[in-house]
Amino acid sequence: MRRTALILAPWVLMVMIWYAVALSGLVNASLMPTPHQVAARFWELANGGRLPRDIWMSTQRVFLGVALGIALAVPVGFLLGWYQGLRSFVDPVINFFRALPPIALIPLVVVYFGIGEPAKVIILFYASFFAGVIVMYEGIAQISPIFVRVARTLGASDLEIFRKVIVPLTVPHILTALRVALGVAWATLVASELIAAQQGLGALIQNAGSFFQLDIIYVGIICIGFIALSMDLALRAASRRLVAWQDRIGS
């Protein structure tokens, strides 16, 4: 009861501040829709409007981009973390590419991949891979060599060490990489949907922008926030079960 109240409190506060700003007259009313106007628009778009399709398209792109990005980030991050020697060469390269904002790459992606679905997924893949690979290798590099030593003195073969020691120690880092990549992918979504998208939450926001439909922009932004939040909560709950042995669930 108390907990629920505490969880709800900041949200209620935000809505109140929103109302206060919208109704105070400080901002021109046409520039600032009130929460109930946005809610009404949401209802309209969700029932028979374009919103379900937009959410479906965006979620699909994010899932695909993250799945591909993490599928590559796990082995690459693992190798870099495990063979520290490799890292000193590859580290600068990774940081170089990670520093590039995905939005800056859009013109190039359009040139090479056109304006279809692959172009959007590639942007998300790029963002997820570089976010994920860094989490992976930082995590793997921190694994203490003592566990491998202990396993060896108990008679473990290389294969057994991999299956029974390295894999369990890697799982938490994969989960953290997944969480970080999902967050980054949602944050990059609007940019990826700048590429001539007709559908998707990013497209919804951009179309609304060109018609000055501020309430729809708010609907789009709030949807992205809530979907990203619920995915993060779901992943966190999964982590808590999968790696119950950990002192803290990765940040």
């Binding site: 202990v150 060896r152 003195t153």
Partner: protein, 273 residues
Amino acid sequence: MSAPACETPRIVFYRVSVEFDTAHGPLRVVEDVSFSVRDREFVAIIGPSGCGKTTMMNIVAGFVQPTGGSVTLDGRPVGGPGPERGVIFQEYGVFPWLTVEQNIAFGLNLAANRLPAAEKAQIVQRYMGLMGLGDFAKAYPKHLSGGMRQRLAIARAYAVKPQFLLMDEPFGALDAQTRSNMQDLLLEVLAAEGKTVMLITHSVEEAIYLSSKIIVVTARPSRIREVIDVPFAYPRDEGLHERAEFGELRSHIRDLVMKEYAAQQRQTARNLE
């Protein structure tokens, strides 16, 4: 444990030295150390912190190569680590992702130590009970105290019944009572299974109570200061602590050890300047 003198020793250190490359240049940690350990002998190594004791043990365990001299195991140079040499590490190394019983069973589940399931379960139960971990069978190490983790590491090493036990301050985190129980338990295990043991300890009393030979090593780099034969027969019991010879031996060793600890402290102070 009183093996005939002609018997070939199982572990032989011959003029061993170890030097590490560090950021501040080479660091000599072990210098010209020679000694041997016979079958079923119990050797304790005692010396100041940072002098090179763990390094010596790591050579026998198969993790460190001597830079000079040789260490042989049953006449052959030590290769990599293996299950016939059980190691209890100074930092325990309990597996955080496994429960207490899974930790103890880890070695028993490896291809190298294949056992029938019933026997496996029995060994796990036995050591969990002996180590006082029975109520924590399903707990993860994050819920255990430091002393309990140390006992878990000991149980895991005992469970695979290694011929050699290499123990690096195995009872350091335990309270006096538990420590004394663990010492007696070790003696029981040794009497029943007959192992060759190297024990690193900072406790002179522990060294005398448990071992048949004590090697006092100097401040870094470790050289052998003195090798002392402990004249008491096994089985031993707590009453040993009250014997006059025990007291004499203790003061003799304590003197040696104190001097080396002081030397190490002066060395550390110099390095800090």
